[in-house]
């Protein structure tokens, strides 16, 4: 067996995962080849060093698991109280974004003639509110009297 082949098999050799025949071939090669033997020894030492890192002793027990299961159940129940959307969240996000974009686009596209530029006249307001013309005159008189436009006792402010 050649050195490159042995080195490719060293990992399985060290894990005792080679079939017996292959294992014997690698072992025979290592007995003759000092370079491959040195590599095998170095890898073996690296793997032996792993045992220097000890495991950990768990601090929790079965009671902690029961508490965790309760916690998860409560979390699931509270999530049920939040009403779910009838569509997936991404669909809702697309719908909202599209609505906003459509509103902005309409605002840009629509001609400005549709936007009222001056306040409506008294006649327009009266007809919209279905008032009789006399009601409008009466309201104008009352407004003028209370604000002093027709009040002879009140001095007019100089213009």
């Amino acid at each position: 067996m050649r050195c490159f082949r042995v080195r490719a098999l060293l990992s399985k050799y060290l894990d005792s995962e080679l079939v017996e025949e292959r294992y014997d071939e690698v072992r025979e090669h290592l007995a003759k080849c000092s370079a491959c033997r040195a590599e095998e020894a170095a890898l073996r030492r690296a793997l032996d060093l792993l045992q220097e890192w000890p495991g950990t002793e768990p601090q929790l027990g079965y009671d902690a698991l029961l508490a965790k299961l309760n916690q998860r159940q409560v979390a699931r129940q509270s999530s049920v109280l939040v009403p779910k959307l009838p569509v997936p969240r991404w669909v809702a996000a697309v719908m909202v974004t599209t609505s906003i974009a459509l509103g902005v686009a309409l605002g840009i596209i629509l001609p400005e003639d549709n936007i009222p530029t001056s306040p409506p006249s008294e006649q327009q307001v009266a007809s919209a509110m279905d008032l009789h013309p006399y009601d409008v005159i009466e309201a104008s008189l009352i407004y003028s009297l209370t604000n002093g436009d027709l009040n002879p006792t009140r001095e007019r402010e100089p213009r």
Partner: protein
């Protein structure tokens, strides 16, 4: 014929909580240690092991004995550990201040300090491996899994495990080279 753990799990799936508790007692420590050596943080390792058991408990009624219970359990632990290891890699937050549980070396505190230092270097070397190589090494070297069992736990082929282990050992040697050479 079913193994004892799988029988316990079947009993748990029929509502026998004592059977589930026995499974927990038999495997919790090993599950914690697989996670611990995969991520290097004992608190997070307990969270992962607890999470794995909680998931198994919650889905116990749909358990089918198509594989050994241990394969099922360790696969969940390994997947959760790989995800945690990837998150650690992303945010670089492996908790290396975690204290090591070194057994005291009799009445020689100097020896204990040397062993603690060596343990930290070995831990650092293991955690420097890419997550998949690290977990393959942990399962085979610390937990005694065969290559086939490790492949089942990770959810990959035996060939892929062999390749991961080959690279893991070379990388481990590189990481520990200074220690090994200083011994010669």
């Amino acid at each position: 014929m079913l193994d004892y753990d799988t029988e316990l799990m079947l009993r748990a799936s029929r509502g026998e909580n004592a059977a589930f508790q026995e499974l927990f007692d038999r495997h919790y420590k090993r599950a914690v240690n697989i996670a611990y050596r995969s991520i290097g943080d004992s608190d997070l390792a307990e969270d992962i092991a607890m999470d794995a058991f909680a998931r198994i408990y919650e889905s116990r009624r749909s358990f089918k004995p198509t594989a050994k219970f241990t394969t099922y359990l360790y696969r969940i632990v390994v997947n959760l550990s790989i995800n945690a290891a990837k998150r650690q890699k992303t945010i670089n937050n492996i908790n290396l201040d975690d204290s090591l549980e070194i057994p005291a070396s009799g009445s020689n505190p100097g020896q204990t300090i040397i062993r603690e230092d060596l343990a930290r270097k070995v831990r650092q070397a293991v955690l420097s491996l890419p997550p998949s190589q690290r977990i393959a090494l942990v399962l085979t070297r610390y937990e005694g899994f065969s290559h086939r069992e490790a492949a089942e736990a990770i959810g990959t082929s035996v060939g892929a495990i062999e390749s991961l282990l080959h690279r893991a050992k070379l990388n481990l040697y590189k990481a520990l080279k200074s220690i090994i050479e200083s011994e010669q």
